[in-house]
């Protein structure tokens, strides 16, 4: 393990940051402050965090409809995120995108995506740009178990393999695509098993173990940086909340959820860091307080920001 102590604490902090952000979004959504659809990342924080800890601002990620975690892990500004969720002028997209389309191209965040399977070709394309320009930047594609069955995913992986593109496909297997369980959407135990069809490495990792995710991602990302082509890393995880806020989740067992809550990635890393004496209870408290402060500030920023003026409705369609 090559993670420094700072990195470990950083990862822990990021995960808590995502968790507190998402939990607050759930409340704000329930209160009617956030319109539209929101898909929360609670329970899956170790994936985005472990992966993005390997990336710089010059690397690219493509995200999904469940994008808040990816954005925060890649360095997204929660003020602009929250403002965007509120549909405010000061949001990442001036309120035009909302939860499903937050992007920050300056940080290499190529956007959340409302189309399941929309991201993989885009990620391969960003990777192509890195290869073409001859730098050692990479692209990372987050995609779900449901998205793994989309044709675009197959096409993008095959093209990436053929062209040895510096892209890492990170599958977030949370066992469900809305109500459709992976036991019904695929016949193989692992999505990573499909990597063999492209002659690229396919790795399964415990997606609730941030360090394990980091390690697997480090390998794939370094490989990509070295020009050795793409890989597929499947992170087994679970979403604690419904598919979207408001989902009654009738399609899955409470027992299953409870089982996964036992494997919650945050207490797990917390425990580890406590054991390693990198954290103490008071340090944890301090981290959480700080995060809470930022979150409150973000919320206040969002709340107080104006809605976009409708005069801008037709702006930003074309350059």
């Amino acid at each position: 393990m090559d993670l420094t102590n700072e990195q470990l604490i950083q990862m822990y902090t990021t995960m808590v940051k995502i968790r507190t952000f998402e939990n607050r979004v759930a409340e704000l959504f329930a209160d009617g402050k956030i319109p539209g659809f929101v898909h929360l990342y609670v329970g899956e924080e170790a994936v985005a965090t472990g992966v993005c800890e390997n990336l710089t601002d010059k690397d690219y990620i493509t995200s999904t409809h469940r994008g808040h975690g990816h954005l925060i892990a890649k360095g997204g500004d929660i003020k602009k995120m929250m403002a965007e969720l509120f549909g405010k002028e000061t949001g990442y997209c001036k309120g035009k995108g909302g939860s499903m389309h937050i992007a920050d191209l300056d940080l290499g965040i190529m956007g959340a995506n409302g189309i399941v399977g929309g991201g993989p070709p885009l990620a391969s394309g960003a990777a192509l740009a890195c290869q073409y320009m001859g730098n050692d930047n990479v692209a990372v594609c987050f995609f779900g178990d449901g998205a793994s069955n989309q044709g675009t995913t197959h096409e993008a992986m095959n093209m990436a393999a053929c062209w040895k593109l510096p892209v890492v496909f990170i599958n977030e297997n949370n066992m469900y695509g809305i109500s459709c369980c992976t036991t019904k959407s695929m016949c193989v135990p692992n999505i990573a098993d499909r990597a063999a069809g492209y002659d690229i490495p396919g790795v399964v990792v415990d997606g609730n173990d941030a360090v394990a995710v980091w390690e697997a991602a480090a390998e794939g990302i370094n490989r990509a940086r070295q020009g050795k082509g793409p890989s597929l890393i499947e992170c087994k995880t679970y979403r604690h909340r419904g598919h979207f806020e408001g989902d009654p989740c009738t399609y899955r067992d409470d027992a299953e959820l409870e089982e996964w809550k036992e494997k919650d990635p945050i207490p797990r890393l917390e425990q580890k860091l406590l054991e390693m004496e990198l954290l103490t209870q008071s340090k944890i408290e301090k981290i959480k307080q700080e995060l809470q402060k930022d979150l409150t500030a973000a919320e206040q920023f969002a709340e107080e920001s104006p809605y976009p003026d409708i005069s801008g409705l037709l702006e930003d369609v074309y350059t």
Binding site: P35, G36, K96, M100, I115, G151
Partner: protein, 324 residues
């Protein structure tokens, strides 16, 4: 007649038809256990079982394509595309396969299938979950395009669609799902290609679709107070399009304003305007106006989304313009 919501009326059409014909099956993402993203198919899995109510993987090309294959082999699929915006990943199977097979094969294929799909803005679902795309489907020979505006029409048109031997695209505006109205129990059909005059009037013809019909009716109510009488024509099916009823109306009112939610440019209203400019030109006393969404993706932010959706006031302004 019982009152039903638009969503219930659509479900009822499924029930009536599935009970009648064992070769009808439903397939789509989350149509079974979940009951459909908008609850339209809730309960059908329990009633008809897994064979006939199929939850699918998230693979729209395969959903549409297997329906085409199954239809050509004797079944009558009714599939759900969760949002019409997703058609971009499945269009080929719909237009190059389903829509053209009969013609390419010299008349011998029969593709009785319905693709139901939710369209429209109004719930803050942003650019990839809010479009109206009826003009795309209209332009593709081999498809029929249905767009109901009331629970009554929805049920009758869906039963007609299911019984039709051609591929039918059935567009359900999501702001209508909760709308209530009288719906007869049991089977009844509304023939395709018959526009419905939702309100009679004598000064200006308004052709409106889906939830814009209700916007038009609202405007008609308001303008009636000003002594302006609107005739509101709902085509109900965009292909086949009942030009005659529209022309007849324009011949009486001499004025036409078209109202639809999809973007104006190259939208469904363009075809209606063009047909009237050809067929009823001599009866027109004013330019044909279209009130429709502006040329941009659907924005997320509530005030922007509201500004995007054509409003009663915009329609009233257009009416006043053609009356001037």
């Amino acid at each position: 007649m019982p009152d039903m919501t638009f969503a219930e009326a659509i479900k009822d059409a499924h029930v009536v038809e599935m009970e009648r014909d064992p070769n009808i099956y439903i397939a789509g993402e989350d149509v079974g256990v979940f009951g459909g993203c908008f609850g339209v198919t809730a309960g059908l899995l329990d009633q008809f079982g897994e064979k006939r109510v199929k939850d699918t993987t998230i693979t729209e090309s395969a959903i549409v394509g297997t329906a085409v294959g199954a239809a050509s082999a004797g079944l009558r699929p009714v599939i759900e595309l969760m949002f019409v915006d997703f058609i971009g990943v499945a269009l080929d199977q719909l237009y190059n396969q389903a829509g053209k097979m009969k013609y390419m094969f010299g008349g011998k294929a029969k593709i009785p299938m319905v693709m139901r799909t939710a369209c429209g803005a109004g719930i803050g679902a942003a650019a990839q979950h809010s479009q109206c795309l009826e003009a795309l489907f209209m332009h593709l020979p081999g498809l029929k395009v249905v767009m109901p505006s009331t629970p009554y029409d929805a049920k009758g048109l869906l039963i007609e669609a299911i019984r039709d031997d051609n591929p039918v695209v059935f567009l359900e505006h999501k702001m209508l799902y909760a709308m209530e109205g009288e719906v007869p129990s049991g089977a009844y059909t509304i023939p395709f290609g018959q526009a419905d005059i939702k309100r009679q009037g004598k000064d200006v013809t308004i052709v409106a679709t889906a939830n814009m019909v209700h916007t038009a009716l609202g405007a008609a109510e308001k303008l009636a107070a000003d002594g302006i009488s609107l005739e509101v024509v709902d085509p109900r099916t965009l292909y086949p399009l009942d030009g005659e009823t529209i022309f007849e109306s324009v011949k009486r009112t001499h004025r036409l304003v078209i109202l639809h939610e999809e973007v104006k440019f190259a939208g469904s209203g363009a075809e209606i305007a063009a047909q009237v400019a050809e067929e009823a030109f001599d009866y027109l006393d004013a330019p044909i106006l279209r009130v429709a969404a502006p040329f941009c993706p659907v924005p997320f932010s509530p005030p922007l989304e509201k500004a995007y959706i054509p409003s009663e006031q915009q329609l009233i302004d257009a009416v006043k313009k053609v009356m001037a």
